[in-house]
């Protein structure tokens, strides 16, 4: 009798996470269907439009994939947007400087293009990783609560980027980067930013679901003391997750420079919160121990789909913020409601 009850309870618990992905997937589907019907002559559902949606979701998707690890491990990082800006400034400056003399670059002549890309791209990514190390040091080594540690580092990182650039976007990024990569298509079909986002997210998905690193990430978020007693180096693991998130921010910084041909110093202010919202909408618990990458992928697509649909329908795109906020609130409300109600059998 009790054994049956426990069995049922455990099945229900296990299915809950799938339900969350499922019903948040249904919300996304409903949004898509509404736009498909409401937009004039079905412009929303064309291949090229959906491709645009995917490009617009690519940066958030990468950030949210990293944030999924961090939230499952019961950490948080509010500095991701700041790191993206800083990394994009570094990538843009290095590429602009190395590609040729200022005169040449101003005339769109790039005698050392290969060198500029070869150093500029890794430089941006490495700087992201470096800030990840700083966050790991603050939140893990120095044990400053992660919320405060990364709030502080966000201010420092963004501030330094603003001081360095005088608050002005960095220009002179070699044009071929945008032409062939930022706006370029793999095999003439899939945009490169989407390819990268898909590969990175897929990789993170597999690591989270199938590997020892993923399992330990869940364990640490679930009960760090138990993980410690099981012989896991919890500090090292958490440090690595912060570094991973920093690395992904560096990658996003590079993609951003490639897409817009500039390092946008004023942008990305909402990136951290958007990424957290996407992850939480996807069913990952802010308290750690639970979550799935499938949910995060859906959560990351909702804002991009809403924005795109509203633009086509000539609705102010700002409504997207309202809608995403509502979805987040509804998702978390139901999540809490389910957690608070023990399954009685």
């Amino acid at each position: 009798m009790t054994s049956v009850a426990v069995r049922l309870r455990s099945i229900v618990r296990r299915q809950e996470q799938r339900y969350q992905s499922l019903w948040i997937g249904l919300i996304l589907l409903v949004i898509v269907v509404v736009f498909a019907i409401a937009t004039p002559s079905g412009t929303f559902l064309t291949f090229s439009n959906l491709r645009n949606v995917a490009v617009n979701a690519s940066e958030l998707l990468i950030l949210a994939a990293g944030m999924t690890f961090l939230l499952i491990a019961a950490g948080i990082d509010l500095s991701v947007g700041a790191i993206v800006v800083f990394a994009s400034v570094v990538a843009a400056k290095v590429m602009g400087t190395l590609a040729g003399s200022p005169d040449e670059v101003a005339k769109f002549i790039y005698p050392h293009l290969a060198l500029a890309l070869l150093i500029g791209i890794p430089a941006g990514i490495a700087v992201g990783l470096g800030w990840g190390i700083v966050n790991g040091t603050l939140a893990v080594t120095l044990k400053i609560p992660a919320f405060i540690a990364t709030l502080g580092s966000a201010g420092v990182i963004l501030g330094l980027a603003q001081v360095w650039t005088g608050g002005i976007n960095v220009q002179n990024v070699p044009l071929p980067l945008q032409k062939f990569f930022g706006l370029g298509l793999l095999a003439g079909v899939v945009p490169w930013p989407v390819v990268i986002a898909a590969v990175v997210t897929g990789l993170m998905w597999v690591v989270l679901a199938r590997t020892r690193f993923g399992m330990r990430t869940y364990a640490i978020g679930s009960n760090p003391e138990a993980a410690r007693r099981a012989g896991i180096d919890v500090s090292r693991h958490m440090f690595l997750v912060y570094v991973l998130v920093g690395l992904l921010c560096g990658l996003v910084g590079f993609i951003d420079v490639a897409r817009f041909n500039t390092a946008s110093v004023a942008g990305h202010t909402q990136d951290a919160l958007s990424a957290i919202a996407a992850v939480v909408i996807g069913g990952t618990s802010l308290f750690g121990g639970r979550g799935r990458m499938s949910g995060t992928v859906i959560g990351a697509f909702i804002p991009a789909v809403l924005q795109n649909g509203f633009v086509i329908m000539n609705v102010q795109a700002f409504w997207q913020n309202v809608a995403v906020g509502c979805v987040l609130l509804v998702a978390v409300y139901f999540d809490q409601f389910r957690r608070r109600t023990p399954v009685r059998l």
């Binding site: 009790t2 618990r13 399992m215 138990a226 007693r229």
Partner: protein, 267 residues
Amino acid sequence: MSSSTAAMAKTAVLRVSDIRKSFGSVEALRGVDLEIRPREIHGLIGDNGAGKSTLVKIIAGAIQPDGGTIEVNGQRVSFATPRDAEEAGIETVYQDLALTPTLDVGENVFLGREVLKSGLLGRVGFLDRPSMRERAKAQLETLGVDLPSLTCEVGALSGGQRQAVAVARAAIWGRSLLLMDEPTAALGVAQTEFVLRLMQRFRDEQGLSILFITHNLPNVMRAVDRVTVLRLGQPVLTAPIGEVTEHQLIGEMTGVRSHSSSSRETP
């Protein structure tokens, strides 16, 4: 007869001698000697602050003593970390269980010592979950534990079942000694019974020794082979359980030994 006893004593699973530990000005352990023999359940009792937890943490490698020696199966050892103790064959089941509620049974049993796939995938960290589940299942069956499902979250199990998972975890890895720190403190009557039976199975079928730390005297009287009483950081009594009474143990724990009671109890 006496020579076989001597041989047994020589190959004690665990022997700690003159263990001392201070925290600041507080002397938690003032020279503890303790010997655990093969295939015995050894009760360790004492009032709050007697030093039980400190001693267990030292044997588990969680903290280091200020002085004294530890021998496992006749070999001098020193544990810098819990991993060192585990490598010497000592496993610990903690009072608060130290399980991860959102992981499943197999994952909990193997946490920290995960089974990886063979070949290249394993080398980059891919888990072999079916094999972890199989081995966890086999161990639970050996211990006579029936769980509803091995893929269910541990958080969905009852207290006794969770304790069984923690014991199974220790039983898979333990080769010499299992430390059980207040394993029944949070359990109901039936579940306590279950855990005590589990300990006996562990001794009889796996041939290992158990150091059972508890407050609960009736459980001590029922389940252990020998008992040691700690008071104020020192062992004040070690005896086979058949040679002491509950009353006597209470007297030793509290330090209040009235003549009338001890004379009544000495047969």
